[in-house]
Amino acid sequence: MNMVRRSPATYMMLLPFFVLYMYFTFYPIVKGFIISLQDYQILGEKTFVGWQNYRQLFADPTFWASVWHTVLFTLLSVPILVIVGFLLALLVNVPMRGQTFFRAVFFMPMILSVSVVSSVWTAILGSYGGLVDALLNAIGVKQQIFWLTDSKLAWVSILLITTWWTAGFNMVLYLAGLQEIPAEHYEAATIDGANAWQRLRYITIPGLRRVTVLVVFLQIIASFKVFAQVYLVTGGGPAGATRTLIQYIYEHAFNQFLFGPGAAASYVLFAMIFIVSLLQLRLISSAEQGG
């Protein structure tokens, strides 16, 4: 209160954002939780049912399968996207002709919308006449490879698509981090006889520790929220083998109008991300103390 009296102008200026934030972010979060405890008829009655939606959820094998798919995707995609982003950053950090061009090229897919990305890759990977299929046919491979409809290959395809689409973002973060490492460190190391691998191992990677923690943090959250590219490319198929948690939420809330169970499922996702984020934040603060 004291603070408010001391600098009223500051708080007045914060007020509009605060109001919008409360209304459009905080209120829906609370409302979502309330819905998760209700039998929620969109145009009819809303009755309080306690934890019933959650109990129903935990008894549904499809729900657990979706949770597992989401975790699996996170476990696989985070290391791949972080490492690929890091390697791309190293690559485009090398002084060479066309450096700006390559930086732009690797970042470019990031600016495409998910629908464009999905359509392009469906055309590339589709069976019986997709681009890859046609190329394989041309070099004599007659066997059909079902990139999008085999339950294992579908995951490989989704990882490939996601990497192509979003690795550029991590690359940019790493690239910025690389600029912060003083050139003198490399000079001194070179004079002391360190080879390229040693410079990478003892200067670059430790110097990027804080960036890495940030990139991993953001990537885990993004990976947990995976939905659109999977939904558009495989539809969650074959036979639900790639259904993620957000798709489960979407199908319940917006196809079947079961808002209660849908909201409950989104709170489970929220809890998962929240716990992982807490762990991450502790890691970040220890990294800051260390670095």
């Binding site: 069976s127 019986y128 085999d150 539809g235 074959p238 036979a239 109008f257 079961l258």
Partner: protein, 435 residues
């Protein structure tokens, strides 16, 4: 001061342009349009549909023609994405921005009624001169709840058997008239096997989505299977009593096409594309593809009714219907205008038949305009033996992903035919009681 004068000048010239253009269009159009002289602003009717592709173009042309011939009414067509349609419709009604008129699938009418999204339209339809007896029975049945009409059927869209004439000719499967006919499951399998020599894909059909469900339901109904869901809409009954053997036999015959005779190759991601690319000899697909296939394959295209392979004629179908969403803001004039449009479309339904569908208004089939459309008379009679997905209060089978996933896992051999069907029935029963 200078600003103000400028604004005035802009306003004046704007007014001049408006007056001039009104006058010009008035002059050019008045000889064409008999009723163009009326001064009053036309009654605006917001009309929502979910038509993409050929459907979309056809409906746009119909709305355009209607608006040109009815200067007192302006139909404002707004096409929503198919996948999001019912979500948007329901939330629009909830948010107080409902359209005045909309399209619904016949088997979705009871869901909309249960949610309170639509209202009965008996009085409105009567005032507009709609004659219920003109329509095919099946769509009318889904549109009628507790004796009240909630929807006016527009079409019957159903599965047809399309084939590539030149591929079938090479395999020796065409009769003297250059057409293909099939009388039994055994013959169909034997023909599909013969065609393997000339086509990489004998029958183009997916194992995901609602298509296999529709194929199974058609076979099941042809074998004499009863309703999939009980009349109270609380239980799936296709694995009960006498239905069970038929449900299993029908699914086994579907399964065999994929996994025993290998006439439906696995994992076709775009079934229409491979048929248009002449890689497939046959395709079972909806009426909405007739013109698209015809434009690509020209004279090679053959179109016939969905094959009756087991005794009783039956083929999966659905209908688009007109509905009046609950909208307190709709004036009586707008309601009347909306129904005028509906009546006009029903009376000119050969225009809608251009999209490939069978008009729900049976009387259209005897018109010269309908008869002149290619292929339409090959399958118009199918409107009499169509089989709809069950109409329920809360589950729309076309997008019921959990049930469709189980069906797909049967076809992918992840579960047996019998266990899978039982699982589908249990899941559906559970969903029917969830709300």
């Amino acid at each position: 001061m200078r600003m103000k004068r400028n604004v005035k000048r802009v306003k004046a010239s704007f007014a001049a342009v408006v007056t001039l253009s009104t006058w010009v269009t008035g002059v050019t159009l008045s000889p064409v349009l008999s009723e163009a002289k009326t001064k009053a602003a036309p009654v605006n009717v917001v009309f929502w549909d979910l038509f993409g592709g050929a459907d979309g173009k056809t409906m746009q042309a119909i709305v355009k023609q209607f608006n040109q011939t009815h200067p007192n009414i302006h139909i404002q067509e707004e096409t929503q994405d198919w996948g999001q349609y019912y979500t948007k419709l329901t939330t629009a009604v909830l948010g107080g921005h409902a359209p005045d008129l909309a399209i619904s699938h016949a088997d979705h009418v009871l869901i909309l009624k249960t949610q309170g999204v639509i209202q009965p339209l008996d009085a409105e339809a009567k005032a507009a001169g709609i004659k219920w007896s003109d329509f095919f029975g099946a769509p009318l049945q889904d549109s009628t709840i507790d004796g009240q009409h909630y929807a006016i059927p527009l079409d019957v869209h159903t599965f047809l058997l399309f084939y590539n004439k030149s591929l079938l000719k090479q395999a020796g499967l065409l009769n003297a008239k250059g057409e293909y006919t099939v009388k039994s499951y055994a013959q169909f399998v034997s023909d599909l096997t013969k065609v393997k020599k000339v086509a990489k894909i004998p029958l183009s059909f997916p194992e995901n989505g609602w298509f296999p469900l529709a194929l199974w339901q058609s076979f099941y109904a042809q074998m004499g299977g009863g309703d999939l869901v009980n009349s109270q809409k609380t239980k799936a009954v296709f694995m009960d009593g006498a239905n069970k053997q038929k449900a299993i036999a029908a699914m086994q015959d579907v399964w065999d096409l994929y996994n025993k005779y290998h006439v439906i190759p696995p994992n076709i991601s775009n079934i229409e594309q491979v048929f248009k690319a002449k890689k497939a000899a046959f395709i079972i697909d909806g009426t909405w593809n007739v013109d698209d296939f015809h434009n690509t394959l020209k004279n090679d295209l053959g179109v016939t009714m969905f094959p009756v392979l087991f005794g009783r004629p039956a083929a999966w179908a659905n209908s688009h219907t007109f509905i009046l969403p609950t909208n307190p803001k709709r004036t009586p004039e707008q309601t009347q205008a909306a129904l005028t449009f509906v009546k006009w479309v029903e009376d000119h339904a050969w225009l809608w038949a251009k999209a490939g569908h069978i008009p729900a208004n049976q009387t259209i089939q005897s018109t010269a305009q309908y008869k002149s459309l290619p292929f339409r008379s090959n399958y118009g009679a199918q409107g009499k033996f169509v089989q709809y997905f069950p109409e329920t209060k809360n589950v729309w089978l076309m997008t019921d992903q959990p049930v469709l996933d189980v069906l797909q896992s049967i076809l992918l051999k992840k579960t047996t035919v019998q266990n899978g069907l039982q699982q589908m029935a249990n899941l559906l029963t559970q969903q029917l009681n969830q709300h």
